[in-house]
Symmetry: C2
Subunit: 442 residues, 2 copies
């Protein structure tokens, strides 16, 4: 074939980008899928890696493996640093790729509300690396507490503050409580992990604000049953090496919590490519840096550039912004693949329309909240729904039967076999060294 086929370039191999590529497998287009990492991440289970329940390999799938049998799809492990809509090129850190159609699906990261210096002290949970950093912080904190003889300092090692009462904060706090109170129950000789304090701070007046109020209340009750202290109406004002300062939004009172470990589950900040699309392709951004897209998910001023997933600011049929959910990104990805195929054969294309599959958040063992098809679920039923949906997607995705068994095993036994501290030195680069007391017998 000498004629140049239509070239689709996709930046980002998350739920959005991967589904565009999947929809274009073995189609008469040349697809290049660019990702900084060599794997797709099943992000909904990332908190399990962070709390030692699962291993990285359990929730990741090499991108090359996904597309190994689709010759029209080239996977490129590279970092896109710029976009040139005039030349129709994506600029990589080491090269460039031409496109006819570009799909940008690079998602979002956490926002520290202008306090980027907090990142080192309060890691967020977006990437596999984040999960491993958090796992190391948590495990090393317990190790340090076991070695610490000063009671006040020991309590600071055993105090974990989770910032943000959204789904990430809630699942982290819940899993952390189970880790401390069940898994580690008998693991130490000088400390009692049951004394662990887990504090979830949220700036508004309830956890899981996107849910109806009664589900938020149920989620809070479930967390409290697990031993998590839920504190609402609190804004973080400062994070220091061994403490966090929070301000009550109602009476402006500032409170100090002594802690060695702060985990960040608040705020969302769109990927930097949003700003590049703004500068180079005239894309309009919202306050969080998300790209406002047309009804067909394209950039108004550049109709052959599409933005999907967490980087896109799209609205539903009633003008309400779509939430940052995997199901939104997946549907958008499939839609774009279909649109590209239709355009190629000159068919008319419909606008994107989101089919609301509901949403759910896991809190802990036997406990979740869910909202779907006009129904609300909570407790054990919601938990079952959550488990089945995730098993369904995991199996469909990579036949991760082993993960499901591991999970079942962990559930029955409270086991968290992946609570390993590896490559400690490299993590220590960002982890403050525990202020260990000398261990001396007598």
């Amino acid at each position: 074939m000498t004629e140049q086929r239509h070239r689709v370039v996709i930046i980002g191999g998350g739920f959005g980008g991967m589904n565009v590529a999947k929809g274009l497998m073995r189609q008469p287009v040349d697809v290049t899928l660019i990702d900084k990492r060599n794997f797709h991440l099943f992000q909904p289970l990332l908190y399990q890696v962070a709390t030692g329940g699962l291993s990285p390999g359990d929730i990741a799938h090499p991108l090359r493996a996904v597309f190994s049998n689709a010759e029209n799809i080239t996977t490129l492990k590279a970092e896109a640093v710029d976009i040139d809509p005039v030349q129709q090129k994506v600029i990589l850190r080491d090269g460039d790729v031409d496109y006819d159609t570009l799909v940008v699906a690079t998602g979002a990261t956490h926002s520290y509300f202008g306090h980027d210096e907090w990142e080192k002290k309060a890691p967020g949970l977006k990437t596999m690396e984040d999960a491993l950093i958090i796992r190391h912080r948590i495990l090393l904190a317990f190790e340090a507490a076991e070695r610490e003889s000063n009671p006040e300092k020991r309590q600071a090692w055993m105090t974990f503050v989770v910032v943000g009462g959204g789904p990430t904060g809630v699942e982290l706090a819940g899993a952390l409580a189970e880790l401390a109170k069940n898994t580690l129950e008998n693991d130490f000789r000088r400390i009692d992990p049951a004394d662990t304090r887990i504090i979830l701070v949220e700036a508004v007046d309830r956890v899981l604000p996107p849910y109806p109020e009664n589900l938020s209340a149920k989620a809070q009750k479930s967390l409290e049953k697990l031993g998590v202290q839920v504190k609402t109406n609190l804004m973080v004002t400062d994070i220091q090496d061994d403490l966090i300062k929070v301000k009550n939004t109602e009476n402006d009172q500032v409170q100090e919590i002594k802690t060695q470990t702060v985990l960040w589950g608040a705020g969302t900040q769109a990927s930097k490519l949003g700003h590049i699309l703004h500068k180079k392709a005239g894309a309009e951004l919202n306050r969080a840096g998300k790209v406002k897209v047309e009804p067909n998910l394209s950039v108004a001023a550049a109709p052959n550039i599409f933005v999907i997933g967490d980087l896109a600011f799209a609205t539903d049929d009633e003008g309400q912004p779509l939430p940052g959910l995997a199901s939104v990104a997946m549907q958008q990805g499939k839609y774009i693949a279909k649109l590209i195929k239709q355009r190629l054969i000159g068919q008319a294309t419909d606008d994107f329309s989101y089919v609301d599959k509901g949403m759910m958040s896991i809190i802990g063992r036997n406990s979740a909240v869910a909202q779907a098809m006009g129904f609300e679920f909570s407790g054990f039923i919601a938990w079952l729904v959550w488990v089945f949906v995730h098993i369904y997607y995991l199996i469909g995705f990579d036949n991760k039967v082993a993960v499901i068994l591991q999970w079942a095993w962990n559930y029955i036994t409270y086991n968290r076999g992946a609570r390993l501290i590896t490559n400690e030195k490299s993590y220590n680069l960002i982890h403050k060294s525990p202020d260990k007391q000398p261990f001396a017998s007598s």
Copy 2:
């Protein structure tokens, strides 16, 4: 209880040390198990982590979890840096621990035969960190080859040299061949992984020298069937950034192989604590730095210090040195636990006697060699034996049913789902950056 109980300190949580502690669970002694890491490693499957078949969590078990219900066992994540046999103290990097009986089981690491500068270029496979480093090297080499347009340089990225034809070298070379020729078969667009060269170099005249000659020959044939080039009578004389030099031990001819990836499976060097025992407790060392032990595995000049596992130089009833096998370390560990219990109640103790369980080495799918109970096995039968023995130990150890299923799945599908590149920056500290060609479309 006000009376001080007998204090046993064990350094090292491998097969030897862990079995001492297991044998002393809920006995009237106070045990402190010291390890730098917080997990026990199922080392026989480490090559699977290195080649992306399994995740770290699959072959590791947190030490605290093993002993969580044995209150007399304290796990201490710490590094032992010195031993004081006069004061009966183990000196940690940050503290010290008193002992009445000391068991040193810190094993061995690779030896670079006086060329420690090769370590950075040719990582060995002893620890979990080693396995992750090797995994990153291998995966990044293929990524670099895909980006490299100069054919000679590309071939250097696709050439892997494994040094040492012992069990580690053989299993690494075999697994690498399967990774390249089966798992990655269709994963790239510019290179054909079938062109991968895997060269196993061995200094003596055959692979797996501890085995009978006919099994060595069968192992070599199996490796060659997998596409591995087996080169014997070759000594490494130099390793540089992009090549390795080997000398034929018969005719002294020097040969250069252009390669970006050298993996080290040769040489054994006992842990540094051997030298400390030599200096402080008058222990005699052999050439590899192993501690010569009495028939009851104690140090002659310090009868309350025992050395077991790869750090010990012990002999069987016929005066032959015991091999560095997990089964030796396990039996020695159980023996020491029994001996301590017997001493406590004033019973006479027997000398250690090794029950030869045979040995086996896996080469690849369907292929292994084994020698046990006077029989020799090879090919599929040996492979089956290998699999069953390892399943037996894995299940007994931690109910790692998930691993076995993952393994079965990998076997059927040639899948290696754990071939992930994570935390790349930290590994890049020691990995030379691939000399990437700019990727440009057209």
